[in-house]
């Protein structure tokens, strides 16, 4: 028969593991405002805007051309592009999920995915235009 002491140790270890795993799961950064960038409908890059403290920029380019993207706390924009219509640049800053930034000539879409936790928030589901 296994000693009571052993049982206590096993259960104690289990308790510790349980507490630790809960701690890890809960302290993991919560999904905030995440901007996903798609090329031809396929995700190519993801930026958690709620973790941005300092503004930064990057360029996405392929054979169709380049889009310069700027990230600031809680928002994202295309600040320069060599597409003919530059509608993506004129779209300005994106900070909610209602209406994505689209660069049709470069087949690029920047979208903020709706945060499941933000139930009942005032952000519309989509925009009719």
């Amino acid at each position: 028969m296994i000693k009571t002491k052993t049982w206590v140790l096993i259960l104690g270890a289990l308790l510790l593991t349980a507490l630790l795993s809960c701690l890890i799961l809960y302290t993991r950064p919560a999904p905030g405002t995440v901007a996903n960038i798609y090329r031809d409908g396929v995700p190519v890059r993801s930026v958690d805007l709620s973790l941005v403290t300092e503004p930064w920029e990057f360029t996405l380019s392929d054979e169709r051309g380049a889009n310069v993207i700027r990230v600031e706390p809680g928002r994202i924009a295309v600040i320069d592009a060599d597409c003919p219509d530059r509608i993506c640049v004129e779209a300005g800053w994106l900070s909610d999920s209602a209406s994505p930034i689209v660069c049709l000539p470069h087949r690029l879409v920047i979208r903020i995915e709706k945060n499941a936790a933000a139930e009942g928030d005032p952000v519309p589901d989509t925009v009719s235009r």
């Binding site: 009571t4 349980a18 209602a98 589901d125």
Partner: protein
């Protein structure tokens, strides 16, 4: 020794009591998103019909979104005016011919809207639109002579459709641009419905169509774009409706300080400039809402209100260039102005 043993025994009992609680705690640790949720939305982005389309469905078979994309491609191949291999391009080249069921159906509905609106929507305005460069982006102002010659051939009544056989009038060309996306939305929602989906949202280049409510039973919140800025003019709460907006603000050019917008008056061939800057139509059939939004934009405020009073199958929201909002009775409770339009005067159009 006895005390120590008793201590262990108590600890053991205590732990045995805590264990189930721990299990529950651990189960609770699995956060939303960690486990695939059958009620979670699936989305697809499709570049088609010269725009970007967003599809969101809740439930349904695995292949549903790829079937949807295939349907969009099929319809695009039939309706496109820019693809020389499309049925419409072929028809515009030859002036007569047989078309497929979808093209015949969308032509029939479009001609119905042309008739119902007294030609304020006219699918034969395409050669004039092309002369202005609105189709290819090579904008220019056509000469008066050019315009009058082109406008003289604009008349939807000279298009005949018998079964799947179409005949155009002399020198005519048709463009389904005013109804093609609405028709595509109707077909997509039928596809979803037949697959057992009860909740879906599509946005086809700004044309919004909803199937059912959101999965939790709440209404979809569809914003109407602010034609003067980047935000929204308001939000409409809706279910099972198409919400389709026409406004000159989406495609235009400026020359000599004047702005020319892409919606033409079929009678004059000149861009509409009547004080309306946005027309949103909400109703059950996307193809109808799509065609009507253009026709009502051409009509202007008063004629649009009269037209609505004589109809029963749609509601509308009109925005004017002097900052007023007109809402038809059916949307009075569900449309909420927002942003810079939050304080705008609202007139409710009612049946007499």
């Amino acid at each position: 020794m006895e005390t120590v043993k008793r201590f262990y025994m108590y600890s053991l009992r205590g732990l045995l009591c805590v264990l189930p609680v721990l299990c529950l705690l651990l189960a609770g640790c699995a956060r939303e998103g960690d486990v695939p949720d059958p009620a979670a939305p699936r989305t697809a982005t499709v570049f088609a019909m010269d725009t970007v389309m967003d599809l969101t469905v809740y439930g349904g078979p695995e292949s549903l979104l790829s079937d949807a994309e295939e349907l969009i491609r099929t319809l695009e191949e039939a309706f496109s005016v820019t693809d020389p291999a499309s049925e419409i391009s072929e028809l515009n080249r030859t002036g007569a011919g047989d078309v497929g069921d979808d093209t015949a159906e969308v032509l029939r509905t479009a001609l119905g809207v042309c008739e119902r609106t007294g030609g304020r929507l006219d699918i034969t305005v395409y050669p004039v639109l092309r002369a202005w460069g609105f189709t290819a982006g090579d904008y220019r102002i056509p000469t008066d002579g050019e315009l009058s010659s082109l406008v003289s051939r604009v008349d939807w009544r000279r298009v005949s459709l018998e079964g799947n056989h179409v005949t155009l009038g002399e020198g005519q060309m048709v463009d389904l641009g005013a109804v093609a996306k609405g028709y595509t939305g109707d077909r997509l929602l039928s596809l979803f419905r037949e697959a057992g989906v009860t909740s879906a949202l599509v946005n086809l280049g700004g044309n919004v169509q909803t199937l059912g409510t959101k999965p939790d039973g709440s209404l979809w919140r569809v914003a109407v774009a602010d034609p003067l800025g980047s935000g929204y003019a308001g939000v409409l709460e809706t279910a099972d409706r198409a919400v389709i907006t026409s406004g000159g603000y989406e495609r235009y050019f400026e020359e000599n300080g004047r702005i020319y917008r892409h919606i033409l008056d079929p009678e004059t061939g000149i861009p509409v400039d009547n004080g309306l800057i946005s027309v949103t139509v909400a109703g059950e059939r996307g193809v109808l809402c799509d065609g009507l939004s253009t026709a009502l934009f051409v009509m202007g405020e008063e004629a649009a209100a009269d037209f609505w009073r004589g109809s029963e199958d749609f509601d509308m929201i009109l925005l004017t260039d002097d900052g007023r909002i007109l809402v038809s009775e059916g949307l009075e409770e569900t449309f909420t102005p927002a942003g810079t339009w939050a304080a705008a005067p609202v007139t409710v159009i009612r049946h007499d």
